[in-house]
């Protein structure tokens, strides 16, 4: 991986976050009516004195960029402002909920990586009927979005077969695991399908590779051939799509949290959006965008390191 590749990706990360923060901050300038009214929460009739205080506190009368910088630099320091609807600091609200979201996304990410690559590899190595079956299953599952999978899982594994708790996030490691299993599966399942399919095709391609034949011609044991030549060489694309999948989990965790009543960041964002509490929505969506972009960047860097061909500008 070249230094310039690293520099480009990091610059892109910073630029994307800056522009996204401008977009997020600017969005509520677009809002119909007075932004101050929105900050109180669109539903209620505000009192003019309160509105003035809010204007001052949020620097609403400042020029756009000054106001944005005030907000954005605050966020960088961990000061996300106050929520008038929840009557709490936004930073505190986020801090309370980040743990559940992190646990859920991490759990789902493990599922995507482990199950996705395992299913794809088995399909490619076994071939024949196993492959056809797994391919059909993974394509089917890819069309089932998180919210429908949530409902299905609740119906099958919490109501018909009462194996898992339905709502909440549980306490302790065991409790968290059992509470988060269904939501993590619901969140991960379509990405598992996707990663499995990409794994299958890239393992198949690598299996046909001439360098694999060389390894076999030298008497290298088949298990080593699979690990060091087939999987090792397929790992670039596999990791790249897994990374896109994990970033995708961050984007859709809100849906799973909502469906399973988990009080994470996603649920907070939805609740705040319903109440039109813009201070919270802005902060949480900025956080999600930063995470999303950061994961994508890390994935790009790692897959470039895994596959020297992409880092050299795709020319072999």
């Amino acid at each position: 991986m070249t230094a310039s590749f690293l520099a480009t990706r990091l610059t892109m990360l910073v630029v994307t976050v800056l522009v996204a923060s401008l977009g997020i901050y600017g969005a509520f300038m677009l809002a119909p009516g007075d932004p101050a009214t929105l900050l109180v929460g669109g539903a209620r009739k505000p009192d003019p004195a309160v509105l003035d205080r809010i204007r001052a506190e949020y620097h609403l009368d400042d020029p756009f960029f000054a106001g944005w910088w005030h907000w954005f630099s605050g966020c960088l320091h961990g000061d996300f402002g106050r929520s008038l609807v929840y009557r709490d600091s936004v930073g505190h609200l986020i801090g309370e909920r980040a743990g559940d979201t992190f646990a859920l996304v991490a759990y789902a990410a493990v599922l995507v990586l482990v199950l996705g690559t395992a299913i794809g590899t088995v399909a490619a190595l076994r071939g024949g009927r196993t492959e056809a079956l797994l391919t059909a299953a993974t394509s089917g599952v890819m069309a089932v979005p998180t919210f429908i999978m949530s409902v299905l899982l609740i119906w099958v594994f919490a109501v018909e077969l009462p194996w898992f708790p339905v709502y909440g996030s549980g306490t302790g490691f065991g409790g968290t695991l059992s509470h988060l299993t269904l939501p993590a599966v619901a969140l991960a399942v379509s990405w598992v399908g996707y990663v499995a399919q990409v794994t299958r095709t890239s393992v198949r391609t690598e299996l046909r590779g001439e360098h694999v034949e060389t390894a076999r011609s030298r008497g290298v044991p088949e298990s080593v051939v699979i690990r060091r030549h087939v999987l090792r060489n397929a790992s670039g694309p596999i990791f790249a799509v897994s990374g896109v999948g994990i970033a995708g989990l961050i984007a859709t965790t809100a849906v799973a949290e909502q469906a399973f009543g988990i009080g994470g960041l996603g649920a907070l964002m939805i609740d705040a959006a319903l109440k039109q509490d813009l201070a919270v929505v802005q902060a949480v969506s900025l956080l999600f965008v930063v995470l999303f972009v950061a994961v994508n960047t890390v994935v790009d860097l790692v897959s470039a390191a895994l596959d020297p061909r992409t880092a050299q500008g795709g020319s072999r």
């Binding site: 001439e210 060389t214 008497g219 290298v220 044991p221 080593v224 060091r228 060489n233 072999r316």
Partner: protein
């Protein structure tokens, strides 16, 4: 040829490959014997089955391929080997050098990993010992800065250098037989010469036998003791290298010799062999060369000729050219 059991003994080899509908025969009848330390060249037009023949020695055929006939290495039947024995055999007794090192060496791993793997993963040699041996072989094939090269990726090496790496990998296994499938075709002329010189030198130093596949008849005669000619999936002639130019008895071999470009030839002086080369899949009854053969007679279209002594070598032809030299001896 020595009277003792040859190192490699191929008799009546037939290879059927799976096709869309059933299977088809790609290699019909190959007879070939190679003594220890001896080098034979396998020549013939594209698609004549040279690579399949060489690969069958390592059982490195496409999945579903069926091998018939006899294929013995040092008296042991190769098709009869168990999986474990086959791995051992591949790891230590026969090594193969492929045409395109860039495709045949894993681009994602370092050159050192590639070189060492044949000893560590395949033979259980400790890594340190394997590195030591590999470095020595690298020196031998003309790669002086071995340590640096081993840290590099294949993509950072030139084609000639990579082919030396491939040869070093083969030599490091200390095999008794080297299968070289057009090892220089992908290289430029000067590099070709260097690489062939390295192979010849290493072979002489180790008493290594070689089956050398090439399209270059001159090269074949220069580096090998004998030349074996294949056409449409069968061996059609075998003769000592020295007799290639004047002692070829099979019309196909003679046509190959006539069609080969050489210095001083003008374009008009080149004689291409009339007609299209056949692959093993489409051989007619009788002699497979008959449709293109200027000397073909009725018998050629009905009876399949087998290898038998003709001139200085053996030839599968009903009406071989009998050269004066051979006639005098007879």
């Amino acid at each position: 040829m020595s009277a003792a059991a040859p190192l490699l003994d191929i008799r009546g080899l037939r290879i059927d490959l799976p096709t869309g509908a059933g299977s088809a025969t790609a290699v019909h009848r190959v007879d070939l014997a190679l003594a220890a330390g001896e080098a034979a060249a396998l020549v013939g037009e594209s698609g004549s089955g040279k690579s399949l023949t060489a690969r069958s020695v390592l059982r490195l055929l496409p999945p579903g391929a069926e091998v018939h006939g006899e294929l013995r290495f040092a008296g042991e039947s190769v098709p009869g080997m168990s999986r474990t024995r086959l791995r051992e055999f591949r790891a230590g007794e026969v090594a193969m050098v492929f045409q395109d090192p860039r495709a045949h060496i894993n681009p994602a791993r370092s050159v050192g990993d590639f070189l060492v793997e044949g000893l560590t993963a395949a033979r259980g040699v400790p890594v340190r010992e394997a590195r030591r041996r590999v470095e020595a072989v690298l020196q031998e094939v003309g790669i002086p800065d071995a340590e640096r090269r081993m840290r590099q990726r294949p993509g950072e090496l030139s084609g000639g250098l990579l082919q030396r790496v491939m040869i070093a990998a083969a030599l490091a296994a200390e095999p008794k037989l080297l299968l070289a499938d057009e090892p220089t075709t992908a290289l430029d002329v000067t590099t070709q010469e260097e690489v062939m010189a390295i192979v010849t030198e290493a072979r002489e130093a180790r008493g290594l036998a070689m089956l050398f596949i090439t399209h270059d008849l001159e090269l074949a005669a220069a580096v090998c003791d004998r030349v074996v000619v294949m056409y449409a999936g069968s061996t059609v002639e075998e003769l000592p290298s020295g007799a290639l130019h004047h002692g070829a008895a099979h019309p196909y071999t003679r046509a190959l010799l006539a069609s080969r470009p050489s210095v001083g030839d003008t374009a008009s002086g080149l004689r291409a062999i009339a007609g299209r080369p056949l692959s093993g899949f489409e051989v007619p009854a009788g002699c497979s060369f008959a449709p293109r053969c200027p000397r073909a007679r009725d018998a050629c279209r009905t009876d399949t000729p087998l290898l038998r002594a003709a001139g200085t070598g053996t030839s599968a032809c009903h009406y071989p050219h009998i050269t004066e030299e051979a006639e005098q001896r007879a």
